[in-house]
Amino acid sequence: MARGPQPRGANRGALLLAAAALAAALAFPTVASTYYIRLLTGIFMFGALASAWNLIGGYAGYPDFGGAAFVGIGAYTTGILMVRAHVPFAAALPAGGLLAIVAAVAMGSVLLRLRGHYFAIATLGFVIVLQQVASNLDITGGGTGMNLPVARTFTAFYYWMLALLVLAVTAGIVLPRSRVGYAIAAIRENQDAAQVLGIEPLPYKIVAYAASAVFFGLAGGIYASWFTFIDPPTVFNVDFTIQAIVMAVFGGPGTAFGPLVGAIVLKSLDTVLTNISVFFHDIFFGALVVLLVIFAPRGLAELFRAPGGIAAAIRAEVRGQRI
C-alpha cells in the first residue's frame, strides 16, 4: 500500500502517461462509433467505481460491499429530482452525490465500528435493505421503476463519466498523501496502535467511506440518466460493488492507477469473451479469476506493497530490481 512520499521518477512517468491517455480519451468520440463510445463510457464508470472502492477498501482496509447502496441513492435522487421537480441534470447530479455523502456519514458512523467479515456482511445487508425500501416507496415508482427524460445524445455521458473517472483517480492520488491519508494508513496498519498515538479512528474512517460513497453516488446519477430506466434491482445491485472489487484487487488496491488498469483490462476481457461465446464467457471469466488468484496472489500482494504503484513495480521488474 502507499507508504509515505513517493519516488519522484515513478510519479512523473505515470502522470505523463495518464495525461496522454486523457487527451486521447477526450478526442475519441470524434472518430469512434456510438458502440465504442458506449463501451468506453462503461469502462470509465467501472474505473471510477473501482477507484472509489479503493479509497475505503484499499487505503483504509475496510472491505466495503455497500457501494451499490450509494449507486442507488445517487440514481434515485437524480431521477426523482429530474422527473418530479423538473430539475436539470447538471443540478440533480450533485444533489445525488450530496445525499450519498450524508448516507455514508450516517451509516458509516454505525457500521465502521465493525471489522473484517462483519463489516462486509453488514454493508451488504445495507444494499439489500435499501433495494427493498426503494421498491416499497411511491416516490421511487416502487417495483415498477422510473423513467428519466430521454437524453438527446449519448456522447454527453461519455464526458460525464470521464470527468468522474478523473476525479476518482485524482482522489486516489491526493488522499493517501494528505494528513487524513496518513492517519487512514496508520489505522489500516494497526488500528489499536494508531489509537494509542492519539488518532481517533472513527472520524477518519468515515471520511474515507464518504469519499468513496460520493463517487458511487455520482456514478449512479449519471448511470440513471444514461440508461433512462431504473428500478430497484438494477441500481441497488451488488454486481456494481463486486465488479469494482474484482477490478481494484486485480489491478492493485492501495495504488492510484491500479483499479483503473484493472477496470480496463477486465472489462475488455469481458467484451472479448462475450464476442467469442456469449454463453461461456462467465465460465472463462470465473476460471480466469481463480487462476489469477492462485498463480499470482503473491504477485498481487507484491503490488499491494509496492510504493509508487504499478508503474514503479513494472519499471523495477524491468531493471531487475527488488522492491
Binding site: 477498501g57 472491505p63 454505525v110 457500521l111 465502521l112 465500528r113 465493525l114 471489522r115 473484517g116 467479515h117 462483519y118 463489516f119 462486509a120 456482511i121 453488514a122 451488504l124 445487508g125 445495507f126 439489500i128 435493505v129 433495494q131 427493498q132 425500501v133 421498491s135 416499497n136 417495483g143 488500528q191 479512528p201 463486486i242 472489487i245 474484482v246 484487487v249 488496491p253 454463453f279 461461456f280 462467465d282 465460465i283 471469466f285 470465473g286 476460471a287 480466469l288 479469476v289 481463480v290 488468484v293 492462485i294 496472489p297 498481487l300 500482494a301
Partner: protein, 295 residues
C-alpha cells in the same frame, strides 16, 4: 381459537419449517467460516449441485429424493474434498479479499457450467407425497416441510456429535483455535481442512436435496442461499452448529412474520435489518464465541 391466533400459529409453523431448510444451508457454511476462516461464496452453488443431483436421480432413476440424500451428500463430499485440497487450500492464509475473490470465481464457474449443462429451465421435484399435509387442529403442516425439519435436526445433531465427540472433531476444533499448535502436535492441517470443507459440502448437498422438494431449482439459485447462510451464521454465532441451527429457525420465523405483518415485500428489510442490529449489538450471535472482530 380466534382467526388472528390461528394465522399467527400457522405462520409460526411455516416459519419454523422453512427455518429447517435455512438451518441445513447454514451449518456447513458456519463450519467452514469458523474453522478455515473462509467465507465460501460458492456455498450456494454447492447447494444448487445437491439440488440438481437429487433432481436427476429422481427423474432418471426414480430414486426417492429423501432416500437419495445420503448419496447426494456423499457425492458432494467427494466433490468438496479435492476442491478444497487442490484449489482453495492455496489461499487459506491469504487476506480476506483473496479468498473472497477465489470463491467468487469458483461460484461463477460452477454456476455457469450448470447453466450450460442443464439450461436455465426451472425444475422441481414433485413426488407422490409432495402435496400432502397433516392437519393438526387449525394448523396445516406440509409433509415435505416436516421431513425437511426432521432431517435438519438430524444433520445438525450429527455435525455436533462429530465436532464434540470424535477425534476428527477435536482435530478440527484444535486447528481452528490455534493452527500452529495443532501443526506442532502432528495434526495434518491440509487434510483436516479438506475434510471439514467436504463435510460442509455434503451438508450443502443435503440441503439442496431438501430444497428441491419444496422450491423451484435453477442454476442461478445459489447466490440467494449463500446470502441466507451468511445471515444464519451471524444470527446464530460463528463456529457453533447448534447456533447455526437456531439461527436458521430464527431467520425463518423473522421472514415469515415480516411477510405476514408488513407484506411479503418487507422480508429482506426485516431480515437484514435484524442482521445489522445483531452485528452491532451482539456480533457473537446467539451462541457464538466472543467476537474477535469488533472495531
Amino acid at each position: 381459537m380466534s382467526v388472528g391466533a390461528q394465522i399467527a400459529l400457522q405462520n409460526a409453523v411455516n416459519g419454523l419449517l422453512i427455518g429447517g431448510t435455512y438451518a441445513t444451508v447454514g451449518v456447513g457454511f458456519s463450519l467452514v467460516w469458523g474453522t478455515l476462516n473462509i467465507v465460501n461464496l460458492a456455498h450456494g452453488a454447492l447447494v444448487m449441485l445437491g439440488a440438481y443431483a437429487t433432481y436427476w436421480l429422481f427423474t432418471l432413476y426414480h430414486l426417492d429424493p429423501l432416500l437419495s440424500l445420503p448419496l447426494v451428500g456423499g457425492a458432494l463430499f467427494a466433490f468438496g474434498y479435492p476442491l478444497q485440497r487442490i484449489v482453495i487450500n492455496q489461499v487459506v492464509r491469504a487476506p480476506f479479499l483473496i479468498t473472497f475473490l477465489l470463491t467468487f470465481g469458483i461460484e461463477l464457474v460452477i454456476t455457469n457450467l450448470a447453466l450450460a449443462a442443464w439450461t436455465a429451465d426451472i425444475r422441481s421435484v414433485t413426488t407422490a407425497y409432495s402435496g400432502r399435509s397433516l392437519a393438526l387442529g387449525p394448523v396445516v403442516l406440509p409433509a415435505v416441510r416436516i421431513a425437511t425439519l426432521a432431517i435438519a435436526v438430524l444433520v445438525a445433531f450429527g455435525l455436533q456429535v462429530l465436532m464434540t465427540r470424535t477425534r476428527l472433531g477435536s482435530a478440527i476444533r484444535a486447528t481452528a483455535s490455534d493452527q500452529e499448535a495443532a501443526r506442532l502436535m502432528g495434526i495434518p492441517i491440509a487434510h483436516v481442512y479438506a475434510l471439514t470443507f467436504a463435510i460442509a459440502a455434503a451438508s450443502a448437498g443435503i440441503a439442496g436435496g431438501l430444497i428441491s422438494l419444496s422450491f423451484p431449482i435453477f442454476p442461478a439459485m445459489g447466490a440467494g442461499y449463500t446470502l441466507i447462510a451468511f445471515v444464519v451464521c451471524v444470527l446464530g454465532g460463528l463456529g457453533s452448529v447448534p447456533g447455526a441451527f437456531l439461527g436458521g429457525l430464527l431467520l425463518g420465523l423473522l421472514q415469515t412474520y415480516a411477510a405476514a405483518w408488513l407484506g411479503p415485500n418487507f422480508d429482506n428489510i426485516v431480515a437484514f435489518g435484524v442482521l445489522i442490529a445483531v452485528l452491532l449489538v451482539r456480533p457473537a450471535g446467539l451462541l457464538g464465541r466472543a467476537a474477535r472482530f469488533r472495531g
